[in-house]
Amino acid sequence: MTTRAVEPWIFEPLVKFVKEAGARLVLLMTPAGQVLAQHGFSRALDVMSAAALGAAIMASTDEIARQLRQPPFAGLNHQGERHGIFLAAVPTGRGRLVALVVYDLDASSLGLVQLFFDELAADLQAASPKDSVPKRVLAADFERELSDSLNTLFGR
């Protein structure tokens, strides 16, 4: 199973959490659904679908909490026949992140996931840098490459 992190400070806390909690799949994302780290997925485009759905569930429950005039809910759990999912927010120096954890019921449990999730949250809070330095991303003439890519994509 592969673990990938967009920003290196997330990698070690995530690997530790996966091992200790016995998680099958984990996503750490921004509240808008942008993936910052993942474990267990094989195809990047599938990760995005899972992240979009996870972020949507989180955004919906945050909105319900707001309408009830109470702080956001701590976490959500759904248990299926073979797998369970756990969804919760993690405050970090880089802002609030959302974690989606999928676990096998014969290898882990909600209690185990919650126990080590608290440690993950503390580890991420400690490891997260506070500032980021903007870097140059795209060359000035990126439009030609973009145009070629889109033409290829649409078979033109």
């Binding site: 920003e7 993936v35 485009l45 990126f142 439009e143």
Partner: protein, 199 residues
């Protein structure tokens, strides 16, 4: 907000298709889904009602390939157009890098277009985003309908395009204008990314 991974050299951007109910937002994504090769797209996720109206959003991730040495992916979302679903519409807008406003060209839908555009402005403001600064393009869909039923792109520009942003005539059901619209918003989003992150 765009996500840039300098280690693996990847860029991910979020684009939201916005507009009144039945203007053709989901149809745009269906057409794109049908035209892009399997290897360059993910699953299309649709959270819809039993009558196939968008309930929360449609979602389609596409892989644009290498741009300036970065593997570039776009996440395309639609919002539910029906007035009733404003709370979910606002949630989908969170973190958007660009917006495609899909207008319905039928003359009798002009008020709905205006209302939806005002709703976009107000929902963006809730996220602290000014509609005058976010990358935005307009698409005037259903231009294939009989002339007597629709407004011309020039009329629609007068009524809706207060920013003078790129606008595209479209017949999304048959694909006309869909590609041009996606290309238009992609350029604006990446231009803003290039300007915003320059060292």
């Amino acid at each position: 907000m765009s996500l840039v991974n300098f280690t693996t050299r990847e860029i991910t951007c979020k684009i939201v298709y916005y507009g009144p109910g039945r203007s053709g937002k989901t149809t745009n994504l269906h057409y794109i889904y049908g035209r892009v090769p399997d290897s360059r797209r993910g699953r299309m996720v649709s959270l819809a009602t039993q009558t196939d109206r968008t309930l929360f959003f449609d979602f389609l991730p596409i892989d644009l390939g290498q741009i300036s040495g970065f593997s570039t992916r776009f996440q395309l979302y639609t919002v539910p157009g029906q007035v009733y679903y404003n709370a979910t519409r606002r949630l989908v807008l969170q973190g958007a890098d660009g917006v495609v406003f899909v207008g319905d060209s039928q003359a009798r839908q002009l008020d709905e277009n205006l209302e939806s555009l005002q709703n976009l402005q107000s929902n963006l403001l809730e996220h602290g985003v000014d509609i005058r600064t976010i990358p935005l393009v307009l698409q005037y869909n259903k231009q294939d309908l009989p002339r007597e039923l629709i407004l011309s792109p020039a009329d629609l520009d007068d009524a809706l395009n207060f920013r003078g942003v790129p606008s595209f005539s479209a017949d999304a059901l048959h694909g006309r204008g869909v590609f041009e619209t996606l290309k238009g918003i992609s350029e604006l989003v990446l231009k803003k990314l290039a300007a915003g992150t320059a060292a």
